[in-house]
Amino acid sequence: MYGKMLINSIVTHVCYVIISVTIGFVLGLIIGILLSRIPKYSAYIFPIVSIFQTIPGIVFIGVLFLYLGMKPVTVIIALSIYAMFPVLKNTYTGILSVDEGYVEAAKGCGMSPYQALFKVELPLAFPNVIAGLRLATVYTISWAVLASTIGLGGLGDFVYQGVSSNNNTLIIAGAIPAAILAVVAGALIDRLQKKIMSRGTRGEAAK
């Protein structure tokens, strides 16, 4: 009976993670790219964004819960926003840390700003972007535990039940699968990165 519950919880948990990380990644990538186009203003935007990031997840989920109610959407919105930050930050710094020489070479060859971005800047920032995705995924797996605070399942169910009933076995039953998920997800992303990245930039990523 616990076995079935556990599998259900893992599936729910993974669903939360995949959906939120996907949304967060896309948003983070887009906003990161946009901010990298206006670095002057971004210097002011980032500190504000960072303040938002310091709001505890449990508070944020709670507030969203008040407005949106007990729906999976509440959890996904909250997790997506948290997953977005690492991707956004890494995309932004990744693009800005691309050596200006490459950008100038791209311009000098006659690339339009878009072509320079997609053919040169983004591919060179790619290791950073993926590092952001990795962070976001691993964090989201642990944050998704919070879903159960508003009664929406996931591995958090075990953890919170365990805490409230003082049952260590239950806590561990929730914590261990979450930890394994995080490790597996990290490894998957590393493999993905190796597959996608060109041989030419791998050396640089290792630095």
């Binding site: 050596d99 020489g101 490459y102 100038e104 070479a105 791209a106 311009k107 000098g108 060859c109 006659g110 690339m111 339009s112 072509q115 053919k119 040169v120 591919p123 060179l124 790619f126 060109s198 041989r199 030419g200 930039t201 050396g203 640089e204």
Partner: protein, 369 residues
């Protein structure tokens, strides 16, 4: 033809270019040179509009470039920059095809261009086309950088200190190739450097700049004969003394060298070193052809159990031809940290040796007679 008409540029209070006017005719190799901060790179980057002038006009073939689309303009002008010109995420073939692809050439034509380009500099297609920049030496990378600029056969190529980061020998080789390519393809080249040797070697016209203005614009020969100011003269330095630049290696090499035959025994060799007070001997074969060197260190480290010196011979020492340019040889000695280079005759027989000592002697003779 490239024409600058009263072009000025300032950054804040600093005047970078001050009413600059000049013309570069088609098919000429023009070199911009001057002390750092003289505005030579700014001038270059104005031609492909990476930098816009505050005042004045720039014309290419009579057309005001301000009226043209920046991106289109740049695709029609080759551009080579120092060191990191190549995109590290692209292979050699992809790098060469950047501009042709932007111009929407079809794949077949791009392939053909890569073949032709690599062929032109003698780099086999099968070996290099799939390589990434970080898998090649600096010299090879910069060759590809030049090829990328030439790929869409633009009539004008801009080069911003392209060989500055290379070691002296590689730089010489690339300069020679560049000069040949330019003659063959008849491009208009604008080249920025701070190395007068490079300028004299490559240029049809040298444009000497200082504080945003042209001090002198003349062919190398003319500039050597009549430098217009003391600054130009100091830049010409050793080159302006015609005698000095024509000195070849054989004029100051040492010829009394200790040699041994490659089949001689180790003991005999060490004995010889001890008697002559040297730590390295030059090894030759029966026909007096150069084989390599053996040092006392090699003998100490690896000489155990060997009978002859043959297995200990090292071929790492740089060799030059006896009629080679003395300056290249000096540059190598100064930059590489090696203590000597071996001088060979045309048939690879040993001619002599150039040490740091003989170099200093030659220099002092040239200075004080």
């Amino acid at each position: 033809m490239i024409k600058f008409d009263n072009v000025s540029k300032r950054y804040g209070k600093k005047q970078i270019l001050n009413k600059l006017s000049f013309e570069i005719p088609d098919g000429k190799f023009a070199v911009l040179i001057g002390p750092s901060g003289c505005g030579k790179t700014t001038t270059l980057k104005m031609i492909n509009r990476l930098i816009e002038p505050d005042e004045g006009k720039i014309y290419i073939d009579g057309k005001d470039i301000e009226s043209e689309d920046k991106v289109q303009l740049r695709r029609s002008i080759g551009y080579v920059i120092q060191q990191i010109g190549l995109f590290p995420n692209m292979t050699v073939a992809e790098n060469i095809c950047v501009v042709p692809k932007l111009l929407k050439y079809d794949k077949e034509r791009c392939d053909q261009i890569v073949h032709d380009m690599l062929n032109m500099v003698g780099m086999p297609y099968d070996e290099y086309a799939g390589k990434y920049p970080n898998e090649m030496s600096g010299g090879q990378q910069q060759r590809i950088g030049v090829l990328r600029a030439l790929a869409a056969s633009p009539p004008i190529v801009l080069m911003d200190e392209p060989f500055g980061a290379l070691d002296p020998l590689t730089r010489e080789v690339l300069q020679d190739e560049m000069k040949k390519l330019q003659k063959k393809l008849n491009k208009t080249i604008v080249f920025v450097t701070h190395d007068m040797g490079e300028a004299l070697k490559l240029a049809d016209t040298i444009i000497f700049m200082e504080k945003g203005q042209i001090v002198q614009m003349a062919p190398p020969e003319e500039m050597l004969k009549n430098p217009s100011s003391s600054l130009v003269r100091s830049f010409l330095g050793k080159h302006s003394d015609g005698e000095m630049s024509s000195i070849s290696v054989e004029d100051f090499m040492r010829t009394n060298i200790i040699t041994v035959d490659q089949d001689r025994g180790i003991l005999e060799c060490t004995e010889r070193m001890a008697r002559s007070g040297v730590d390295t001997v030059v090894v030759v074969d029966e026909e007096d052809k150069y084989v390599g060197t053996v040092s006392i260190r090699d003998i100490k480290l690896r000489g155990m159990g060997e009978n002859t010196i043959k297995p200990l011979i090292s071929r790492n020492v740089q060799t030059v031809q006896r009629d080679g340019n003395a300056q290249e040889c000096f540059d190598y000695l100064l930059n590489s940290g090696d203590n000597y280079v071996i001088v060979l005759n045309e048939d690879d027989t040993l001619a002599g040796i150039v040490t740091k000592n003989s170099m200093a002697k030659a220099l002092s003779e040239a200075l004080w007679g």
